[in-house]
């Protein structure tokens, strides 16, 4: 019983390792899929396996349903958080500004002046890359050359981070939360509407 319990306790780690291995496999076999999609597929696949494993556990301990459900919740939280940590770590190699700055200096062993460094990598490039990424993921939308925010996980993440900044660092809130909650994002204008 003890061994079964220990295996159940460490199961989110085992499924997280599986998620990482599947991601590694997908990233190499289907590189055209892109980094974000391969992470999503690998995470979902292992997540469903974890859910299946947890369902077996709940079925086996129906007499202590509340306890088993609470353990399942704990395991799912552990799995999701390990996944988030892994995603954030790999994401550093994809989008961290500091890594890019270091890479530019790595490519020029004799060094770069301030002007040379910012010629190779600057705020203009950052804006263009991020706009393209946010637009591609449906987090912002371009209407008549003006960008509008869409309701997405990123927007809610920004709200949570702003709350944490207020609570922990004592900063002032920088976004109109009530307006965002009642905000109806614009849609891409349909070309047929213009025809009519």
């Amino acid at each position: 019983m003890l061994y079964t319990d220990i295996i159940h306790a460490v199961s989110p780690i085992l499924f997280s390792v599986l998620f990482m291995l599947i991601h590694l496999l997908f990233a190499n076999v289907y590189p055209s899929m892109g980094y974000f999609r391969t992470v999503k597929i690998a995470f979902s696949f292992s997540f469903f396996l974890q859910i299946g494993f947890e369902s077996l556990f709940v079925i086996q301990s129906l007499n202590q349903l509340l306890d088993s459900i609470s353990i399942v919740i704990v395991n799912i939280i552990i799995y999701c958080f390990i996944g988030l940590g892994y995603f954030s770590f790999i994401n550093l190699a994809v989008s961290a500004l500091r890594i890019r700055l270091l890479t530019e200096l790595f490519n020029r062993p004799d060094g770069l002046t301030n002007a040379e460094l910012f010629k190779k990598y600057n705020a203009n490039e950052i804006v263009h890359r991020r706009i393209a990424k946010l637009g591609h993921n449906g987090q912002i939308i371009n209407i008549d050359n003006r960008y509008h925010v869409q309701k997405s996980i990123t927007l809610y993440m920004v709200i949570i981070l702003e709350f944490l900044r207020v609570i922990i660092l004592g900063n002032k809130i920088r976004i109109p939360i009530s307006e965002i909650i009642h905000y109806i994002p614009p849609n891409i204008p349909n070309p047929r509407d213009h025809d009519n």
């Binding site: 220990i6 203009n124 993440m157 922990i168 004592g170």
Partner: protein, 174 residues
Amino acid sequence: MIILVSGLSLFLISFAIHLILWRIKQPTNSVRVIIVIFICIPILCLTFFNLGYFDNLLNSYSIVLSLAEILHIHLFYITLSAIYLLVYLGLPEDSPSLFIIISLSNSLKNGLSIDELNELITDDIFLLPRVNFLIDEKLISLSNGKYILNPKGKTFLKTFLIIQKIYNLQNKAG
């Protein structure tokens, strides 16, 4: 239920102590202080637990913790703490993507053009502080007006270059 409640309680106790300390005075080496708090709290609780301070509470609910449950509680607590630390690290500095979302959130009706975004996101706000951070951490150094990658910076970068290689990622971050 004991695993969920205990793990969450341990985390909330650590978080509350960290919050109280930050309200009094935010330490300069904040990350190290957070790590110390989040390591010390479970050790203190475990010590009190072994000394029998929680016996009355445990007996009144007829709770007996097994080795697997103690392991599970700690695993849950470590995961919550690690993710909190990750979130905390991102709090003082805005990432450009989140800054764009914040800026667009403040202009819900009219939105922003690319030129307006370029005015908000500048080298001075996003790149210079990071360059200074790299100098402070001794990953790069400034000599004769040129930034040069230090051996420490090279080792740090190589980890990410390996990640880029094994995951087939684009070789230019940012």
